[in-house]
Symmetry: C2
Subunit: 325 residues, 2 copies
Amino acid sequence: MSNSRSATAIASPNIAFIKYWGNRDQNLRIPANGSISMTLGGLETRTTVTFDARLAEDLFLLDGTRTTDAALLRVSHHLDLIRELAGLKLHARVESRNNFPVASGVASSASAFAALTLAACAAAGLDLHARMLSRLARRGSGSASRSIFGGFVECVAGQDDQTSFSQQLAPPEHWELVDLVAVVTREKKPVSSTAGHALADTSPLQAARVADAPRRLQICRDAILTRNFPRLASIAELDSNMMHAVMLTSTPPLAYWNPETVQVMKQVVAWRASGLPVFYTVDAGPNVHCITLAEHAAEISRRLRSIAGILDVLRAPPGDGARLA
Amino acid sequence: MSNSRSATAIASPNIAFIKYWGNRDQNLRIPANGSISMTLGGLETRTTVTFDARLAEDLFLLDGTRTTDAALLRVSHHLDLIRELAGLKLHARVESRNNFPVASGVASSASAFAALTLAACAAAGLDLHARMLSRLARRGSGSASRSIFGGFVECVAGQDDQTSFSQQLAPPEHWELVDLVAVVTREKKPVSSTAGHALADTSPLQAARVADAPRRLQICRDAILTRNFPRLASIAELDSNMMHAVMLTSTPPLAYWNPETVQVMKQVVAWRASGLPVFYTVDAGPNVHCITLAEHAAEISRRLRSIAGILDVLRAPPGDGARLA
């Protein structure tokens, strides 16, 4: 064995139709409820992990810039899990690049921790099954568990580390959906998702949201498997609103919607009422994910760009899961 | 007794800090949860009821215009309750005028049914206690039960017609609050409150909202009685968000917020964070009620008027309950 061993992995972010918000176990990131997402093709995080005996500490370069703050600590902590599994004591250099703009409304922690997990495991000589990779990725970021898989993915909440993992519902080619991300701000969100999850239980509505989750998951799963767009549209918009309902009623309240967010949501609902297949879903930020069918994507994109306050529209079809480069 | 007997009553609308949404009994309008409001001085509905043996049917003139649609039916149905109590068989002419713009974001059904109840009872020769008047007013519009009283008012949800009524918590002079209504649209709301209440139970979050209501009522009651502005601010904003959480997660969803609504809410929160005593509360419509102390009302009003999209700002201090003219 040489002094250094390296691997590169690529992973994509995902957009959840049934969203994860709140943890049953904050430290292990066991989610309070299951979730269902689509992996976003074309948007990629590429991460190289090099374990190197000459390093005195972990290094983390994000888009070329060396990072020394909380992000490095989170990466280092995640590497510890993998080093422990592999019986490895070496520090690592982690180089990560996103091909999509940071703070674009696409959560980068999912692709970041999916790529980091796969690259670090490969570099450490661990050959793990996808389920084990998704459990590991979950420890870094709950939604990263889903980005291990491509296409349409369900995260089973489970009760502990062993039973909390993701699995593929259908491959990318199952359904030609497109996510058009209406970017209304490039500002970094004021409250991180990790901090937000910890507030979920302060809302008097979170328990009811979690208790109702199996019903929503069932409807969403069926809608995806049968390619029923109207059914997916109504359950995904309801689920998005339920998450923001909990956020808005937390202490302190989390108000992620901007005026432009509401404007896009209203337009999307009006377009669907007029016959266009499109629905909205909003993550922990003000940008709006508008989901449509491939054949209508150009028209929806054109309409989104005509709304005042929309800075950009990203486009992503169903994509692949995490893979080695 | 002559062929006709007449009485005129005046009542004001109110703004709820703990809101009523959903009915335990839709027909009797027994609310799902108790509520607390401030009666809005200066804004008035003035209603004259004349029972007249020469009338072949009930007549309803709203702001000078004869009304023959659902509004007349609702007035007529309400008069039936009072005719039955009084053993009266005469039809009535009802003339009602508001001194505030309709669709200004101030719910007019509360003042309308409080004034109608008092005027009709007086014209029918019924001399009822305020509690009985509030029970009767509730049958016409749930929030009208509160407008029978002045100042700060609590509606006790109760379980049936006898136990569901309002009562005064404190008179108008108790606390110099001011409601500044930021009017962002003059459009009539697409879904009436009566229709909206009927949807409340379709939200998976309504039961949790109702179950938590006694806690919020207690905090709000204490905050008013001790004139604790920050405490009132946080519980009223939470309660407003909880009602809209239920609305947004109903089937079909009720999305009352406009982009301007969100803009004003964000500004109000920012102003309070900078030290100004002000909070928002939003009813079943897009206009925003901004509650502040009298000494800061001019400054808040000036700031509201400087926001793009604000058409007008109404101003109301705590006002009196329903009274005969």
